[in-house]
């Protein structure tokens, strides 16, 4: 089932001099089973939007449909706790939430909160740790002994262990080196392709969006500016630039070449294909 926002607004500190409308009449349909990128500048409302998905924040106006639940403004949602287990939200720099004595215990913490027995929780934890590719000799170590990248993978495993149907990630690759970024994005891709999870990713990294995401939703000033599939979004780099977003290098190159008389089609997805076109058009002049 898709995720739908209908006329959702959210205001912080209502009634005080610090009142601030973070979301204004948001209307959004997120498709099930897709990887959707949520992009926008700092302060655009992305984090606020995303925290409505597992009812950490409740809408002041409007309705949210997620999985089989409805969250209406002014009402306390029923089955709130189980929603948290079905929609896994991973915050930015999640390594800061680790606290248990061992990695295994920390990852098992989530499932235990949702009623699993010790054995069941440990089983789920092991599965999740395998998914994130954490070596077994780390399982009984204290999370504090791990490297930054390993800590992050442990934290993500902690959410995956709850087996959520929807995965919401806030800047999952922030601070990672290129190798770590690639590993992380491949993991999410696998979770989507192999396990059918709906993935929502708040990110600034256009290269990642271009390479891995199906859809793009642009948030600006508290509402949705654009919501389209990634291909269409990057087809016209003027759209990106008008929103102060730097398009991926491949797209920039394509556009620059086309401006100078080349004829590179808009749906070029990778370097090899681009090189083919360039090579043909340069050689054809010889």
């Amino acid at each position: 089932m898709p995720i739908t926002f209908e006329h959702v607004s959210h205001t912080y500190s209502e009634g005080t001099p610090y009142q601030y409308a973070a979301l204004k009449d948001v209307n959004l349909d997120i498709q099930e089973g897709k990887i959707t990128a949520v992009i926008g500048q700092t302060g655009s409302g992305k984090s606020t939007l995303v925290q409505h998905l597992n009812a950490l924040l409740l809408p002041d106006e409007g309705e949210i449909h997620i999985l089989d639940r409805v969250i209406k403004a002014g009402e306390k949602p029923k089955k709130l706790k189980s929603l948290r287990g079905d929609v896994g939200l991973v915050f930015q720099f999640p390594e800061y939430q680790l606290f248990e004595e061992t990695v295994l215990k920390d990852v098992a913490f989530g499932p235990k909160n949702f009623g699993c027995s010790e054995e069941e929780a440990e089983e789920k934890a092991r599965k999740a740790l395998k998914l994130v590719d954490l070596p077994e000799d780390c399982y009984l170590k204290s999370p504090l002994e791990l490297s930054g990248g390993q800590k992050r993978r442990t934290a993500i495993a902690g959410i995956l262990a709850m087996d959520p149907k929807v995965l919401v990630l806030d800047e999952p690759t922030a601070g990672l080196d290129p190798a770590g970024t690639k590993a992380m994005m491949s993991l999410f891709y696998e979770l989507n392709q192999k396990y059918g999870k709906t993935v929502l990713m708040v990110t600034h990294d256009m290269e990642n969006v271009f390479a891995y995401c199906d859809d793009v939703a642009v948030v600006a000033d508290g509402s949705i500016l654009v919501h389209t599939n990634a291909q269409d979004f990057f087809r016209d780099s003027k759209l990106c630039r008008s929103m102060n977003i730097l398009p991926p290098a491949l797209i920039r190159m394509r556009d620059m070449l086309n401006e100078k008389g080349f004829d590179i089609p808009a749906d070029v997805q990778d370097v090899d294909v681009l090189a083919d076109y360039i090579a043909k058009q340069v050689k054809s002049h010889e």
Partner: protein, 253 residues
């Protein structure tokens, strides 16, 4: 590990997380003690006796914008280093204003850190460090925790400093574009230096870089692909350079 950095150059140090690059900045300023070998800065050996003299020559900007912001306002933070170096109080305002101007934070001098973005906080850190008149500037993954706008702000400041001052700049970074813009590159893997040279030299070895999980700029990737298809080009690190060459080939044939 052995390497040297020439005075007045802009050197970048690259490597995976865990390659040892995070330890280097702390070793150079004596925040960590080396187990063996020697570290020499400007001819001075790094020892306990020379520590303060050496620290006075080096300014370092760390990764976390919050955890190096000590003062309660921008002004106070820049003043912190001056206070430590016993600069007379009468001279402080002048120095603070000049360095805030340098990083374009003059409007924010009385702002508290909670009202500043990551990029702004890092700029304040740079101002604070410049105020102490170092000869060497070290950036320890200073853009890793910033959003794209913040990253751009800092990269611009670094480039300006490189062009306008004679400071020796060492930047430990992941950012390929920053590497491409530097004078010299040191590539690390597992605690050892595996490659040194100009960015051109380094990027020519795509395979070797991939082995240590590092990448090359897009323009060079494209060049390599074109070379596979029989189009040989000069090595262009930037997209504009490559573009020009391709246009030339396209039009005058």
């Amino acid at each position: 590990m052995s390497f040297s950095v020439e005075k007045g150059t802009y050197t970048t140090i690259i490597g995976q997380n865990g390659s040892g690059k995070s330890t280097i900045a702390k070793l150079i300023t004596g925040l960590l003690e080396k187990k063996s070998g020697s570290i020499q800065i400007d001819g001075l050996e790094l020892t306990l006796e020379n520590l303060n003299a050496i620290r006075a020559k080096i300014g370092i900007v760390f990764q976390n914008p919050d955890n190096q912001f000590i003062g309660s306002t921008v002004r106070d933070d820049i003043a912190f280093g001056l206070e430590n170096h016993q600069v007379p109080q009468e001279k402080m305002d002048g120095i603070i204003d000049a360095n805030a101007e340098r990083v374009r934070m003059t409007k924010y001098l009385d702002h508290e850190p909670t009202r500043l973005s990551g990029g702004q906080k890092q700029r304040v850190a740079i101002a604070g460090v410049l105020a102490m008149k170092p000869e060497i500037l070290i950036f320890d993954e200073a853009t890793a925790m910033l959003d794209p706008q913040g990253k751009d702000e800092i990269k611009k400041v670094i480039m300006d400093l490189h062009h306008e001052t004679g400071l020796t700049i060492v930047s430990i970074t992941h950012d390929i574009d920053e590497v491409a813009a530097s004078d010299a590159v040191i590539a690390l893997n597992e605690g050892k230096v595996v490659m040194t040279g100009t960015p051109d030299d380094i990027f020519a070895h795509e395979k070797k870089l991939n082995e240590i999980q590092l990448d090359i700029p897009f323009s060079m990737k494209l060049e390599n692909k074109l070379a596979e298809r029989g189009i040989k080009l000069e090595r262009y690190i930037t997209m504009d350079g490559l573009l020009e060459e391709l246009c030339r080939l396209h039009s005058n044939m």
